[in-house]
């Protein structure tokens, strides 16, 4: 565990800002993510993203969240109601992020706690998906993002949560883009073999949008760059 007392705080209302930013990014990128998946997979990922966000809207409406933990719970339950393998894996990933908030729901995690939650989520995804780094899956962009986040926090005690999340986002986007150079070994894209070369992995791209949304939720801009997802 990273030392938590010295870790910079994420802003109050981070759960809400993170989830709503992510919702907008996913809805905005759904067509492009679906297109990537059609070129190197089974083509259902765009539909799965849209279905998950529809479930999220329903969850937010039915039971409006009031804490970081509740916002992330609405998100993870939305994904668990989606088919394919992306639904359950993203669902379990966000469940680990939800656990970073306390049960009473009064606090948001520190940047270091958020990094630990991302790492727990990665471990869960790997446990269920049996993927290794480099297999062209969602963890290819997650793993370097966590490393960059932790390195930024450890390098300088004055680093803010937003600065560290910017480092994580840059690493995630670079790694997601680089998956175009690899051949899939796990996930549905593995069935098409070399045909997946030249195509960014949609799971890795979506995960980079998650990190970008955390940054944009933390800095209050709500703006995530989607232009590279194609």
């Amino acid at each position: 565990m990273t030392e938590q007392t010295s870790s910079p705080a994420l802003p109050a209302g981070f759960g809400r800002a993170f989830v709503l930013t992510l919702r907008e990014a996913f809805v905005g990128a759904a067509d492009d993510l679906g297109d990537l998946d059609r070129r190197a997979g089974d083509g259902d990922f765009g539909t799965n993203v849209r279905t998950a966000m529809k479930h999220l809207d329903a969850n937010l409406e039915a039971d409006p969240p009031t804490s970081y933990r509740e916002w992330l719970t609405a998100l993870y339950m939305a994904w668990l109601g989606v088919g394919g393998t992306s639904g359950p894996l993203f669902g379990m990933f966000f469940r680990d992020l939800a656990k970073a908030g306390d049960e009473a729901g009064r606090s948001v995690p520190t940047a270091a706690q958020f990094g630990d939650a991302l790492a727990a989520g990665q471990a869960t995804v790997q446990r269920y998906g049996e993927a290794k780094i480099g297999d062209k899956t969602m963890i290819d962009s997650l793993d370097p993002a966590i490393a960059a986040l932790r390195a930024a926090l450890e390098a300088d005690a004055e680093t803010s949560a937003v600065e560290a999340l910017f480092e994580a986002e840059d690493a995630a986007v670079a790694a997601a883009t680089a998956t175009a150079q690899t051949t899939a070994r796990r996930g549905r894209a593995s069935y098409v073999g070399d045909a997946s070369r030249g195509v960014i992995d949609p799971g890795a791209a979506a995960m980079a949008l998650v990190i970008g949304s955390a940054r944009a939720g933390a800095d209050g801009s709500g703006a995530v760059d989607l232009s590279w997802v194609a």
């Binding site: 339950m77 668990l80 088919g83 394919g84 639904g87 359950p88 894996l89 379990m92 269920y128």
Partner: protein, 331 residues
């Protein structure tokens, strides 16, 4: 051109579940939101049994909900796993305070969603055990892969676990007897023609008039092998040969046999296979002590048959013979 009796294909599964429950109002109840079927009168003080998977295999699984078998069956779309959220709700519904055994056919999506549902059920202090059914010897291709598929042996696992749970066995014991069945039962299938997805007008694959698909799965996927079409006795031999080399049966053994129709195989055809099976095993000194002949685990309207064999002992025979009352299996 194949036509289907459907309304909107999107509504096929929920409408079919509703039809099943309307037909068995004293036995079953539908939870429409998460698409699972429960017993009308939930059992008390016993280990719960939940199963489920993609639709298109009827009467599996919902047809086996009732006394002596499943408590809950959850349905995905045709040939697609129910979501983790559905399985979670179904698992919770199956719990009567003594834990839940999840009976899962070995397919990547089903295994993933049931495992996840089991893990999250732990938040509510529900203990779960998974029994994985992987009886299809056609997919026994070594260590590095998803492993053998789960097919008709699922019926035996659901029946035997159901009986054990009804007798009051604990969670670990119900799971253990289910795993014993899964370890010892094996299945081999063949198809003369593929099934057709509801709303489609073409079957999932085409076969020549002189060909059969040997080792076919229950999701319309092609088999690794093609063989020449032949008569009922010859087709039975094609299924029996790999089963006998896998099962290590010897003279004097007793087995449970399922001669299973894959969808559009009619009873006369299945009875010819059952006849040939009795004669062949009889010649080898193996007795079919118990059997089922009929469509139990189907693949839409696939024209084909599978044979499942499991060595019987006193415990398995007793649990198989225990009373059962479900839409598809009653004695």
């Amino acid at each position: 051109m194949r036509r289907s009796i459907v309304n909107d294909p999107e509504d096929l599964v929920p409408e079919a579940l509703e039809g099943l429950v309307l037909s068995h109002p004293r036995l079953l109840e539908l939870e429409a939101e998460h698409r699972f079927i429960t017993r009308k009168e939930p059992a008390r003080d016993k280990v719960g049994l939940v199963s489920g998977g993609g639709s298109g295999h009827e009467p599996l699984h919902a047809g086996f909900v009732g006394t002596g078998m499943l408590d809950v069956a959850v349905a995905g779309a045709v040939f697609a796993s129910p979501t983790a959220l559905q399985v979670l709700a179904a698992t919770k519904a199956a719990d009567a305070g003594r834990g839940v055994v999840q009976i899962v056919k070995n397919y990547t999506g089903d295994v993933l969603n049931f495992r996840i549902a089991g893990e999250i059920s732990g938040d509510d202090a529900i203990d779960t055990e998974i029994v994985l059914v992987d009886d299809d010897i056609a997919t026994d291709s070594g260590e590095d892969g998803p492993g053998r598929r789960g097919t008709a042996a699922t019926v035996i696992v659901e029946k035997v676990c159901g009986a054990a749970a009804e007798e009051g066995a604990g969670l670990a014991d119900v799971a253990a007897i289910g795993r014993r069945v899964a370890t010892s039962a094996r299945t081999m299938s063949l198809a003369l023609a593929a099934g057709t997805h509801p709303g489609d007008d073409r079957p999932q694959f085409d076969l020549g008039d002189d060909e059969i698909e040997l080792g076919v799965g229950i999701h319309g996927e092609r088999a690794a092998k093609r063989a020449s079409f032949t008569d009922a006795n010859g087709l039975t031999d094609l299924l029996l040969e790999p089963l006998l080399s896998e099962l290590d049966l010897s003279r004097g053994d007793e087995v449970l046999a399922i001669v299973n129709g894959l969808g559009s195989t009619y009873p006369l055809e299945l009875q010819l296979v059952a006849r040939a099976l009795h004669h062949r095993l009889g010649d080898a000194g193996i007795e079919i002590g118990r059997s089922l002949v009929g469509p139990y685990v189907t693949s839409l309207d696939m024209h084909g048959v599978s044979i499942t064999l499991m060595p019987l002992d006193d415990e398995l025979r007793r649990l198989w013979d225990a009373p059962v009352r479900t839409p598809a299996l009653t004695w």
